[in-house]
């Protein structure tokens, strides 16, 4: 079937197209060239006057894995406040602070998001994470496997193993867990917490293994580059949320020694210690460093006011944050010695100095990092706020007077302690399209997503232009997922199943001999059952397709 999306204003930064009126053609779920004369067009969608973009991609959103389920179990009271009764093709479910899988898929798709990446999949939890993501309808999924706090890796590093062996272990992990990238959370710190450390600086020594986070970051960034994995090492830095942690963040960038590195939820890592309250914005220093370092990309992890729940593998920092839990209940636990898990519910309040300044710091980062190809729109869902607040966040970026009006209602010192009020930058639609589509696809190595050229998957969003970006981005006129109209004006019209995105770099399988012995001695399962096959991940992840992206990135 050939579908024409006719007469829309196309914004497609990956192909350098900015607001050009043209027709798009879709056949069998893929965007194709304009048909030759006389070819039959089965369906025409009139997009005249509307804005056409590729489906949006969220490269950091916690939608699967043990911690999200723990958050759901911990906070059922918020589910009850946000019921989503059966409606049209949608099954009944609940939203809330940690939304159900169904609500996650429906709400993402209704908003024009067509791919979501779970950033913290513990290898030992990978099977469950894929099943949970498989239960999330419509959107494509991928996940980053956590390394850097597991004992096998730390022992390799401590024993001075060759980089080649570390590369093999990283590649083996990507294969075994069906992941799209590697993430490190508080490098070495989660493990150090189990040896009673309560903080670990970038050059601090792990109390047992005697390695430093700098060494962990060095080895992992080298492995990612060496293997040609498209997504840079995804780094949740040291000292999350601690005043003065900007120094750790700058040291983390240096630890990459020019190799590619992605700093996630940077807002939580950009704090200084100035002022009477010993808490200040270091956004300017951090942004300058990012601007000067072309190997660095970041996502912001903007906070938005209201109830949420923070879910993190960083048990060290979540243990520290637990005293701020609201409601006063929390979970910090180890997960089979693979890494950690901390779930702390949180209510960000606009009249609270710290929260208001966090809000301002996030926006400062968005506005001060100049290259929209290297800064991504996230709230670190659900940690900084739910993903369904993205349209509001886009409005904050696109409309300076709105931004300053919100700022004026916050705790007054947020404005005086940050430069936000003086920042004049307003994002254009083109820049929004870069940061939510073209750039995430590029940095994840998704060749067929995030753009509208021939050969791309027909993940397309058609927006009715509106003077209020929040309105425009909340309920697009049409959302196509692989060529199917899945949502219209915010209402789900079809429930499809998304693909799974993975990378499979080449490596020496000899590493399995060592791993087999390790599994025999220390694990609760055998190496053979730990690994997830292509067939299994498609079945348990309910995916019609496993999309393997090329590992050809060099340098």
């Amino acid at each position: 079937m050939l579908t024409r999306i006719a007469g829309g204003r196309v914004i497609d930064p990956a192909n350098g197209v900015n607001d050009v009126i043209r027709d798009l053609y879709v056949r069998d779920g893929v965007i194709v060239d304009a048909p030759r004369d006389g070819e039959r067009i089965d369906r025409t969608i009139d997009a005249a006057g509307m804005i056409v973009m590729a489906g949006a991609i969220d490269l950091h959103t916690h939608i699967g894995g043990g911690k999200v389920n723990i958050a759901r179990a911990l906070l059922p009271e918020f589910d009850r406040l946000d019921p989503m009764p059966a409606h049209g093709v949608c099954e009944p479910c609940t939203g809330g602070a940690a939304p159900s899988t169904l609500a996650t898929g429906y709400r993402y798709a209704a908003m024009g998001y067509t791919a979501c990446f779970e950033p913290a999949m513990l290898p030992v939890n990978a099977r469950q994470a894929h099943m949970e993501m498989g239960d999330t309808p419509i959107v494509d999924k991928g996940a980053y496997a956590l390394l850097g706090n597991d004992d096998f890796f730390l022992q390799l590093l401590a024993s001075g193993a060759e980089q080649r062996e570390i590369d093999d272990y990283v590649a083996w992990t990507l294969h075994a867990t069906q992941a799209a990238g590697i993430k490190v959370v508080n490098a070495g710190g989660i493990s150090a917490f189990k040896f009673n450390a309560r903080s670990l600086d970038v050059d601090g020594e792990h109390p047992h293994y005697r390695v430093t986070p700098r060494q962990v970051l060095g080895a992992l960034t080298r492995a990612i580059d060496g293997l040609g994995v498209p997504h840079p090492l995804h780094v949740h830095g040291s000292n999350l949320g601690v005043p003065g942690n900007a120094d750790s963040t700058l040291a983390t960038i240096d630890a990459a020694e020019g190799r590619r590195i992605h700093l996630t939820h940077l807002q939580f890592h950009s704090y200084g210690t100035e002022g009477d309250r010993k808490f200040s914005s270091a956004a300017q220093r951090i942004a300058e460093k990012v601007n000067a370092s072309p190997n660095v990309s970041v996502d912001v992890g903007q906070i938005l006011f209201g109830q949420t729940v923070t879910c993190s593998g960083d048990s060290m920092m979540q243990h520290r944050n637990a005293r701020h839990a609201r409601p006063a209940k929390w979970v910090v636990m180890d997960i089979e010695c693979d890494a950690g898990c901390g779930v702390v519910p949180f209510r960000y309040r606009d009249r609270d100095f710290v929260n208001a300044l966090q809000w301002a710091i996030g926006l400062e980062l968005f506005l001060l990092v100049r290259d929209p190809w290297r800064v991504f729109l996230t709230t670190d869902h659900p940690n900084g706020g739910p993903f369904w607040s993205y349209p509001h966040l886009i409005k904050l970026l696109m409309d300076r007077s709105f931004r300053n009006e919100v700022l004026s209602r916050l705790h007054p010192e947020a404005a005086t302690s940050s430069t936000l009020a003086s920042l004049e930058r307003e994002y254009s639609l083109y820049e929004i399209a870069i940061m939510t589509r073209a750039a995430p696809a590029r940095i994840l190595g998704l060749a067929d997503r995030g753009h509208l050229g021939p050969g791309a998957a027909a993940d397309i969003v058609v927006y009715e232009p509106h003077s209020d970006p929040e309105v425009q981005f909340t309920a697009p006129r049409y959302v196509f997922k692989d060529g199917t109209v899945v949502a219209e004006r915010g209402e789900i019209k079809a429930v499809t199943a998304g693909s799974i995105h993975v990378v499979k770099p080449e490596f020496d399988r000899g590493i399995e001999r060592k791993l087999d012995d390790w599994f025999r001695r220390h694990h609760t399962q055998s190496l053979a059952s730990f690994k997830i096959s292509d067939e299994e991940v498609c079945v348990c992840g309910r995916a019609p397709k496993l999309v393997t992206h090329a590992c050809t990135h060099r340098g």
Partner: protein, 271 residues
């Protein structure tokens, strides 16, 4: 009898959320408008007119007859007016109540008055489990108001109770006042096992020796406390059985616990 009257005429195919049927919300609406209100079921909505005969006039008094236990959350979050339920009321009646009065001329399901803050609920028959408690995930149970059950209550009544008054004329199941934070419970019948389990503070008056006393409660001797006399005297209006208790109150055996929690709660047992 004045007010609006709904009489169930067809059993719904599955459970229905009846929380929209509040006197304060229906007051002043026409009967036709009320018949068109859609109540959410599990996978579909049911119009009031399909399920009930609707008669009378929508004032601040609403009576629902012939209830069969399939309507949940009746009177939830109500702030004003009077709701009379006849028959078997479902679960979660008066959840989070904020001020209205609910009279149940029959029995109630589980989670009666859970999380209620103000107002009054009176049940002529029995109530299910978790009466006056909180729902899963809530840190507190009922935190105000009066919940009176003429019959028996099931397990876990007053679980995590924070404030307010739970009065029970009949017996209580296991774990009465478990994890109680504060507030007052008066039980005229007999409590089954583990009464006061992990209670931190609060007062539980037991007119009969419970089936079992937890080993983590310490005997504090026989006490005749003025505060308890005043409390029981204030309950005289709640019926003859309560006034009899007040009249013969000469003191109680006082037990302090649960020492496995903070241990500032008290069980006062008649002797």
């Amino acid at each position: 009898m004045s007010g609006l009257r709904l009489s169930l005429r067809a059993r719904p195919p599955a459970r229905v959320d009846g929380s929209a049927l509040l006197p304060e919300k229906l007051q002043g609406q026409t009967l036709d408008a009320i018949r068109r209100i859609a109540l959410p079921g599990w996978n579909e909505f049911h119009e009031v007119g399909e399920l009930f005969e609707v008669s009378g006039e929508a004032t601040d008094r609403l009576q629902i007859d012939q209830l069969d236990g399939s309507f949940d959350r009746l009177g939830a979050l109500a702030t004003a007016g009077t709701l009379v339920l006849r028959g078997q009321a479902g679960d979660l009646v008066g959840e989070g109540l904020r001020g209205a009065s609910i009279e149940i001329e029959g029995a109630a399901g589980d989670y009666l008055g859970c999380g209620m803050r103000r107002g009054r609920i009176e049940v002529r028959g029995n109530a299910g489990h978790f009466a006056g408690s909180g729902r899963a995930g809530e840190l507190q149970g009922m935190s105000g108001g009066t919940l009176l059950v003429r019959g028996d209550v099931g397990d876990r009544a007053a679980d995590r109770m924070r404030r307010g008054l739970l009065l029970v004329e009949g017996d209580a199941g296991d774990y009465l006042a478990s994890r109680m934070l504060a507030g007052t419970v008066v039980l005229l019948g007999r409590a089954a096992g583990n009464a006061g389990y992990l209670m931190r503070r609060g007062t539980v008056v037991l007119d009969q020796r419970p089936a079992q006393m937890l080993p983590t409660f310490n005997a504090n001797g026989r006490q005749d406390l003025l505060a308890i006399q005043l409390l029981l005297r204030s309950l005289g209006g709640e019926g003859p059985r309560f006034s009899r208790l007040a009249a013969r109150a000469g003191g109680f055996e006082r037990w302090l616990g649960d020492l496995a929690a903070s241990g500032q709660g008290e069980l006062l047992v008649s002797f």
